[in-house]
């Protein structure tokens, strides 16, 4: 795959000159500052945020008010309570607090394992010549098409045979497996974009594969790793199906999503807790996103070449 096709797939990492970028930006700015475009953008932003805002308002309303009227009535009849949050977190209500640890224990390895494996594999696919490389790469890419649901029962019976069922291992391994094809594809494209001269120069200076990987490529890959890391983090953190099927719902291993699904009670009578529960489980992903998003924006690759 050449650098140009890479450009087409992932334009974020292209390296146009700053001047060209400015010119394009100016043109874009002029086009977007048309009042109609601004209006459309504001409208879209409003439509996009309104349901979340409604959920936030609902989570602070008392049960009777939620039952009686829609969240927009809070303007006319303001009522505020923390009861929903208190009950969702308390041990005889939802007990969500205790499930944070499980979710963290599940999510961190399930993000690190595929990143570690995929960056090594992507390096091999991008910079090591070996026979059948392209065919193998196509095979890995094609694995993305396999739907998770198809694999559930066969994979679970393998875990049962290996004696792993009901442990964190099943979730880590499953998420790593499901995440790897996309991760390899994504990181491969990033690596392919790095100019050949850079890698060859390092080789001339006597660097081996290990040194090239860690000293030359890794610093340049940070935005790609962060991007995939965020995706994988959000996916694993929000996952219910994989965790429930492979590890089950016992309090030792169940993540936050399982607790959230059970929050409304056997007969679904405590559904006012769901809005509060949703915001509690949202805290960590939002924090992770906010603290990693600068990697999306920063042009590390350009800096790496010039500096």
């Amino acid at each position: 795959m050449s650098a140009t096709t890479g450009d087409a797939v992932l334009p974020v990492t292209s390296t146009p000159s700053i001047a060209a970028l400015d010119a394009a930006g100016g043109k874009l700015k002029k086009r977007l500052t048309s009042p109609w475009a601004s209006l459309a953008a504001v409208l879209l932003a409003f439509l996009w945020t309104a349901p979340t805002f409604g959920l936030l308002v609902t989570s602070f309303r008392p049960k009777a008010a939620i039952d009686d009227s829609g969240w927009w009535n809070f303007v006319a009849h303001p009522s505020f309570t923390l009861d929903n949050y208190r009950q969702a977190l308390s041990s005889n209500g939802g007990g969500l607090g205790t499930f944070f640890v499980n979710s963290a224990v599940i999510t961190i390895p399930a993000v690190l394992i595929p990143i570690a494996l995929a960056s090594l594999a992507a390096y091999a696919f991008a910079w090591i010549e070996f026979k059948g490389r392209n065919l193998l790469f196509v095979c890995v890419f094609a694995l993305q098409i396999v739907p998770i649901q198809v694999t559930l029962i066969p994979l679970l019976s393998l875990y049962v045979k290996a004696g792993l069922a009901g442990t964190f291992w099943t979730i880590w391994l499953s998420h790593a497996m499901f995440g790897l094809p996309l991760a390899i594809f994504l990181l491969h494209n990033f690596m392919k974009e790095i100019p050949r001269e850079l890698v060859e120069a390092a080789r001339m200076d006597g660097a081996g594969h290990v040194q090239i990987f860690f000293k030359v490529l890794m610093p340049l890959l940070t935005p790609a790793l962060a991007a995939f890391g965020i995706f994988q983090f959000l996916w694993v953190w929000n996952d219910l199906l994989v965790a429930l099927t492979f590890a089950g719902g016992t309090p030792d291993v169940a993540p936050l999503t399982v607790a959230l699904a059970n929050l409304s009670g056997t007969q679904g009578t405590a559904w006012q807790l769901l809005s509060a529960g949703a915001f509690i489980s949202m805290v960590i992903p939002v924090l992770v996103f906010l603290s990693l998003q600068r990697f999306f924006v920063r042009g590390l690759l350009a800096g790496g070449l010039k500096g």
Binding site: S91, N92, G95, F100, S157, A165, G248, N262, L287, L290
Partner: protein, 458 residues
Amino acid sequence: MTSRIHRRGLTGLAGLAVLALAVSACGGSSGGSTKGAAGGTSASPQAGCEDYAVYGNLKGKTVTVYTGIVTPEDQLLKDTWAPFEKCTGVTIKGEFDKSFEAQILVRAKAGNLPDIGIIPQPGLLKTLVATGKAVPADAATSTEVDANFAPSWKDLGSADGKFYAPPQNASMKSLVWYSPKEFAAKGYKVPTTLDELKTLSDTIAATGKKPWCAGIGSGEATGWPVTDWMEDWMLRLWGPDEYDKWVNHSIAFNSSEPTAALDAVGQYLKNSKYVNGGLGDVKSIASTTFQDGGLPILKGNCSFHRQASFYAANWPKGTTVSPTGDIFAFYLPGKLATDKPVLGGGEFMLGFRDAPEVHAFQQFVASATWANLAEQGGGGRCVTPNKNADPAKAANCSDIDKLAISVLQDPKAVFRFDGSDAMPAAVGSNSFWKQATNWITGQSTKDTVNKIEASWPK
């Protein structure tokens, strides 16, 4: 520069928040686990354990239980297990998960089964037994069930001629909600036969008030309350044996008995003198949600609403649900005052591992000791069909639960499971609902039963 510092600050703050959350959550979970461990190890013979001697010493053993019962009822359930754990030394590990009914089948296929599953419907029980992974109950459990439950309960926990699963809790559907205050003011008496119910309805209708109100709207499941009506009348008019034949399709859906049962329901639900109090005409039944169907009773616009015990949760805050309050329910009577047919639901303890501790736990749940513990706990685990349970222990239960207990534990009670749940999905959760809705909006009884019969999978 300022913006950069600002951003650093934010990230730091975020990090701190994560740390704080992790630490607090950590404290919570470790506290919980040590408590559990202490409970498991301190298994020395103690006072109050006389009833548990029969189960022997099970120290160091573990039984895993998987169920769809979740918060806050999971705690009630764990509380009923605690004395058994304390006295026998066994550890009961509960897994409470709302998606139980789907997950248990996946696990059965993959071989990842719990020791005991709490199965909420007989159809699922039969499916699981058919996988060959279920273990029949032992002789001691079987004897315990014979001693404590009506024979219909043992049949429900059996499959292929073998007894598998003792019952745990039950729920009751044969209830009619009414206003005790209205009854007291007008001098009405709670009817004890179907004819009396009819006469009372006529009396109220003669005063110009429409006595019945109903709603069958429930999204995709619109129509299901009519299936409960028909099951109740099928059971009352033709008895449990014909009812079973109807559910198993040994008699056709459009044969004379079911047709007559639906017609009998039509004398209430399609009678423009009877319905739809406070809500509109007959057709308004289809457009009213089942949650709103009974509320006109509170406003005095209607007198009767037939719905299961769970409807208690639908009354607005501040409504007193008691035999002398704003709202209560009476048992939907049988054809004769001596008949006690009951329509309802129940849960069964199906074992998947052949081990003494698993059998002992099944036997314990089938015992009167367990039923008393469940009643003592109050809340959503009150109602058990165990006829040897002590009614005096039910003091913490709601009045509706007490009524359900007294009906279910009546030695004359003949219990039948909700039939539409046991019918094939193409009928029980599809054509039965849809045709019942068409029936309300004007389709004839004959067309209705014919169309349902035509949809029965061959």
